[in-house]
Symmetry: D4
Subunit: 248 residues, 8 copies
Amino acid sequence: MADLKAILEQVKAGHLSIEQAEEQLAGASQLDYATLDLDRAGRTGFPEVVYGAGKSVEQLIGIIDRLQAHQDLVLVTRVREEQALRVQERMPEIQYIADAGLLVYTREPIVPKRPGYVAVVAAGTSDWQVAQEAAWTVRCFGSEARVIVDVGVAGIHRLFHRLEEIRGASVIICIAGMEGALTSVVAGLVDKPVIAVPTSVGYGANFGGVAALLAMLNSCANGVAVVNIDNGFGAGYMAGMIHRQTDR
Amino acid sequence: MADLKAILEQVKAGHLSIEQAEEQLAGASQLDYATLDLDRAGRTGFPEVVYGAGKSVEQLIGIIDRLQAHQDLVLVTRVREEQALRVQERMPEIQYIADAGLLVYTREPIVPKRPGYVAVVAAGTSDWQVAQEAAWTVRCFGSEARVIVDVGVAGIHRLFHRLEEIRGASVIICIAGMEGALTSVVAGLVDKPVIAVPTSVGYGANFGGVAALLAMLNSCANGVAVVNIDNGFGAGYMAGMIHRQTDR
Amino acid sequence: MADLKAILEQVKAGHLSIEQAEEQLAGASQLDYATLDLDRAGRTGFPEVVYGAGKSVEQLIGIIDRLQAHQDLVLVTRVREEQALRVQERMPEIQYIADAGLLVYTREPIVPKRPGYVAVVAAGTSDWQVAQEAAWTVRCFGSEARVIVDVGVAGIHRLFHRLEEIRGASVIICIAGMEGALTSVVAGLVDKPVIAVPTSVGYGANFGGVAALLAMLNSCANGVAVVNIDNGFGAGYMAGMIHRQTDR
Amino acid sequence: MADLKAILEQVKAGHLSIEQAEEQLAGASQLDYATLDLDRAGRTGFPEVVYGAGKSVEQLIGIIDRLQAHQDLVLVTRVREEQALRVQERMPEIQYIADAGLLVYTREPIVPKRPGYVAVVAAGTSDWQVAQEAAWTVRCFGSEARVIVDVGVAGIHRLFHRLEEIRGASVIICIAGMEGALTSVVAGLVDKPVIAVPTSVGYGANFGGVAALLAMLNSCANGVAVVNIDNGFGAGYMAGMIHRQTDR
Amino acid sequence: MADLKAILEQVKAGHLSIEQAEEQLAGASQLDYATLDLDRAGRTGFPEVVYGAGKSVEQLIGIIDRLQAHQDLVLVTRVREEQALRVQERMPEIQYIADAGLLVYTREPIVPKRPGYVAVVAAGTSDWQVAQEAAWTVRCFGSEARVIVDVGVAGIHRLFHRLEEIRGASVIICIAGMEGALTSVVAGLVDKPVIAVPTSVGYGANFGGVAALLAMLNSCANGVAVVNIDNGFGAGYMAGMIHRQTDR
Amino acid sequence: MADLKAILEQVKAGHLSIEQAEEQLAGASQLDYATLDLDRAGRTGFPEVVYGAGKSVEQLIGIIDRLQAHQDLVLVTRVREEQALRVQERMPEIQYIADAGLLVYTREPIVPKRPGYVAVVAAGTSDWQVAQEAAWTVRCFGSEARVIVDVGVAGIHRLFHRLEEIRGASVIICIAGMEGALTSVVAGLVDKPVIAVPTSVGYGANFGGVAALLAMLNSCANGVAVVNIDNGFGAGYMAGMIHRQTDR
Amino acid sequence: MADLKAILEQVKAGHLSIEQAEEQLAGASQLDYATLDLDRAGRTGFPEVVYGAGKSVEQLIGIIDRLQAHQDLVLVTRVREEQALRVQERMPEIQYIADAGLLVYTREPIVPKRPGYVAVVAAGTSDWQVAQEAAWTVRCFGSEARVIVDVGVAGIHRLFHRLEEIRGASVIICIAGMEGALTSVVAGLVDKPVIAVPTSVGYGANFGGVAALLAMLNSCANGVAVVNIDNGFGAGYMAGMIHRQTDR
Amino acid sequence: MADLKAILEQVKAGHLSIEQAEEQLAGASQLDYATLDLDRAGRTGFPEVVYGAGKSVEQLIGIIDRLQAHQDLVLVTRVREEQALRVQERMPEIQYIADAGLLVYTREPIVPKRPGYVAVVAAGTSDWQVAQEAAWTVRCFGSEARVIVDVGVAGIHRLFHRLEEIRGASVIICIAGMEGALTSVVAGLVDKPVIAVPTSVGYGANFGGVAALLAMLNSCANGVAVVNIDNGFGAGYMAGMIHRQTDR
């Protein structure tokens, strides 16, 4: 929650307008179309993240602009290239990570702040974008992320080849479409928590990722928990939170 | 199709009643509650199999009795122990294979008639009954079946330990509940066709075997085809048919 | 993997039979109906856990007996009271935790081995058994578990009343049936990972827990990952694994 | 039902053509492609509303034209901007409320006709259009609507901040996508009926709004009833009907 | 919220124990297996209702006992006859309404406290129990409920015969299984809000009430909102809340 | 609709009580738990049929008793043997057709009243009860029904053997579980309407008859319409109605 | 089946080429991409109908051309306007009925060949195209079709207004989207078979017509059978077949 | 697995670069976006196949280029024409089979290497592409494939006409959309394994191929196993593997 005294002193010193002070005390900043949660980092240790899908460029700019005044990090997910370019025209300080569909603004460069790393393991080439979304979210938490792709179980020796690196991670994100079998195999071989991400890669009785989702929820291996279909961000967030625990 | 001349000669010799001859010519034997398909073995190479679930003991006895007159092999699936015992009281020549829920009558002992074997690989202890149903169906085709259970991917070294035996088979039946991942792993390691059987083992988002069924239909490994949930008989039938090809 | 030299020395010293040595080298112990994964603790840091549902008392006893020879901890989940009593007749050293449906055997008493605790938060009285299953699984990992029940969002002040305790945990397990809203509210208020467990509590369009499962997968709050419906064990396992990270 | 005598007098006075009189007596006006229900306001207290989706501009104009002759209010829902502009070219008296996708014609300005108000509470920015559709439908009933957006449970203090205003309403419309948790939280805090509207905002296991729909149907808080996914109009209609009760 | 001063005076006067005072101030009463929400009536105008399904007789007695100390009305839903009889043995003051599956305790007799009534309209004889649950919940709100059964659309004149009575109500609860068509017909004929309750009456492609649920959510008539399948209590609660509005 | 004058004359002559006359004029007879539709035969040409499932023996007797006073035929569907026996104890004039689960009361014996017949074709022995329900419903319409069972497509010559008889019918009811393929094959071979009845025979991915239902709705052969799963009565009713057309 | 002698005589007379004679004897005409069923009219009384969706213009022309040589009527369903225009360029004798999406070629004009008519009743304006497809299919059978649209149950007097005309039909096709309630209401008021067509009109929990489909399968009124979603052709075919019965 | 000595000798002789040798020893070739499984043919008897959907032209070229260095056959599935043309511009040696959507590169011409053939039987014209994908995959295995289209059960004599050819095959691939009935009919008439492929041909309650998928999984005829919806490649692969068995 907001530190009352510090805010008042900033107002007195003229470093904070009356309006800004009100926002910080309420823990929320009101736009016409959004109520920004300025208190998010205080409660959860990570500032509010913006879901970019379906927002206009004007809305994105308005929200980013307001959040920049309060947060050291602004992260916008699910941004298409044409949206990103138009935001960057007006806000050149924003970085667009095209592979991950992310807009990122940070005061400081993104560097690992703690030892250890998160392994982002993906079954196929088609899971690439979800893997990148997960990896960059981990990095925004100040943790290292290592991406290992195309090690699906149809050629399981590819997985064993990388097993050392996977076993060395503090948390493992496991991404797979189709039948999602990679998760169970990985979880049976490691002593670290596995965050599973089903992807919508496949067709027919895949039902847009449902086949992989059910497989992961029913994993015969223990130590697996699942996020929504294609939700690389959610997995990266969960992994970042777990890894952050290790240096407390 | 029925061999007309042979039938007529048997009638003349008194080895066949008029009624039996009619049945054979029509390729069907009519009971009140069933129309038996006497021509099945002629068309498909395997006689009509009786689905025992939901049939009364009287109906089972009536059907078996009629089929015994025409077939060297009578196979009844999905028979519960109490049904079986009551059938056996009246028909002591029928064998009940309790683990597989099968009633079997054969003129000749069931022995392998060709080289090679079918591997029946099951992920868990709970898949035992489905595995037995599959294995005994294979044996009724005159092929050898070898059962390998509890080699699920949560401890994948158990599978590798038996890999030689699995790779040696002519056909592989792969049985798994929960997330059904075993199928994809096995299919990626062998050069033989894999018949996958999802089982209803599991709970919650398993949906009575749907999770494993979808996983198997979406397998990233090639050379997999799938039968209905818990359908050990169907898998054994398919495998028996394929293995039978090898000695033609 | 097994330590070859140590095993051989034990054989020489007569502390290990030839058969036991073979098992340890293979990392598996073969029963008729099961292939026990003796190498599990080596790979994943937790020994093989037995899924009790659908196993006969004879099978349970056989498996527990074999595992006791190799593991300091034997955990059997989803055991009904009548099964448990019959196992205990023959194996009085086994403890039955009726509320959680667990059979537990340990060489040493179960006590917390590290600071901090896991909060097990359940929305309603009907989620009690799932909560107990989760809590006792956490305890088997050597971590403290604190259970907080009946703080569902229909009376949200009950949750705020316990918020301090929940925020103090290293990991939070959040259990809810019906619409599963508790998870999103909790995850929005804490800076720790939340493992969500949907339960089958409810009726009608609840579809046996699907409503809560979908809600949790679609949580608008970040830092949530989900396990199967009613899978208290799975959540406890995941939380135990995460909490274990903190003292490495 | 139609007032016979009044109609006849209007015919006599020449204020009504024979055809119009017939229509009013039948309570229906026949177009080639539609049978307009002129009796709707008499039965339900609100005139027939036109569902705009999938109707051609010609059809919309034909229907509006006919309804204008009989009704003080003509409301057309789900109208896209290009349709609206072409209707307005020919019928400049029609108002298009773009945010709500509504075409509205009224003889009198829309103003609140009774004390009290309906609160339209939406979880996120993406629920804006559904919220506007609901609010404007309420206003067409002659009731005040106040819209409160982006107060989802991930930052629940935003909701508490507006709680006074929500509690002051006579009826509450609660709109949410993703997991739809807002409904249960709100309903647990107020003593007024809550009409819940699931929206299709989200992805993956959201299944186009099904996750939120199920959550709302299974709300652990009482006093909630649900309308179809994205059906802001339906919620506004229900709320308008309930609020209208208060001044009878 | 609790009235602090009044509580303290009651403590001083010895009318309230310290423990009771604490509970009232916290707005919650803690049992081993439940956290009772004593503040519910203050927030929502109706005290906490107990969901009886799956609770033991001991739990029911414990909860009722505690609630009786704080509430003028204790309502327990979904109670089977054998549970009820055993509760009544120990608590003879509790009334069991067998047709509705409700246990009710009230300080004062249940009588209508305001003019007007709620019409509970059910399509078939099989919807009787759901209708009774709804009607008695309405009565607990202090409103009159009139039950009209077996007026389904297969013989629509039965409905028209009772239309006057239905149109006279302030709120209408409409209960139907199978295809649930009654709701749309009723809603097209009245100027009052309709709360629809799908029931699980039917078979086959009824899917336990899903057919009626979908029909009601997609009603072509306006002024309909829907509660969960078989949720007579929920409909009665909603209707009671709406009707209560009329005398404010 | 009721013939007013005839009723009044019967009252005058003392053949009808005042109460009975009222009922006939209202077209409905009110019981506590049911509103009987006495006008049904007048509107639809077939009297109200009672759905027996879930009704108590007392309710069945009450309803039958009342209907007998007004209808020449009383038909009760889905009656279990124990219900039937208890009804027959009190109403020995009622016939119970156990194979079809029907209670039937008729003033006149059931005999065909018109030329031609309805063919009831069922794929398997397990579809027997549904076939009987359909056939007896047809007979209650005064049409002949011929039942042909166990002619499923796995042995398609059995169907061709009976094709002459099937092609000779005026309407064909086609009953099948599992994959429901029989319907398409039959419809491709006949020039008469085919009423398809999916049955719940099967297991696993059969989903209680959904597989057959979908197959029948998607039939590549024309001239097929479908009724609910296991709804032999509905198919018999439809066929009876169609066949009745032929002698008008 | 083909009349051998007649064919041979035509060959002899040179009216039939050898190839054409072969086709007629085989009852099939082979194209690269299709095997036309020339025997269809002989078996089912209606020639093969072409499903236009997904076929190229070249394929349509090839198929129509071949069928014209054998059939008095060629009907192609689901043809989009641009396909139709290109077919008509090459085959000006083909008629395109745009409202129904049908291409029709007939040797003789389409006129009713028997007394009576089929009523095509549709709930809303949006069901127009499905209604036209049904009506024109009926007409191709040589029966009269009368279309009655926009008589949905939200304004049920519109239906009663047309009831006389509906009751006068020999068969009724009932078309509705959303909740599909119209079917049950109509079927309860008539003594003729009702063919129900669910349409995909609606949104959200309509699931592309599933809501209406389930409603129709679960109709509480008897005498209803259902065809696939949006399948106006299928309903028209069924109705045509039934109506054809009446003049045999 | 790789032959170590042979590789080293090739390195020494300069026929293999160090990098190539490493790849072969690892059994994998690493690209940025893919980990190619060079060991696939060694394990499964068929080289890695590339899933073309969703890959960029650059990625396709990169992968094909690398695989050409190691494999005698490179097969890419689900390639659209515009992708194919651009690949062929750069790699003119690649063949594009447009009907099957396949890119194929082979060192040797594709010719049958063993006696016998696979029959590819498709129900309708619309199943053409799936049939071609299956047939060409069979051919890549070195087996003959014969395609028989448009023999669906609505005109079952078309099937019987081709029965001899179907019965002569070693394996049968059976492709059908809509209700998928063809599979059961074929399987009941042959003594060879049937691989069933449901297609997404159809509309409404077809649910994108689910109707046919369920039908095939529930086939009443034995000897059927099923692959994913529209998965012609998978069926061809399975059939190729089975047929290959016959010459071992």
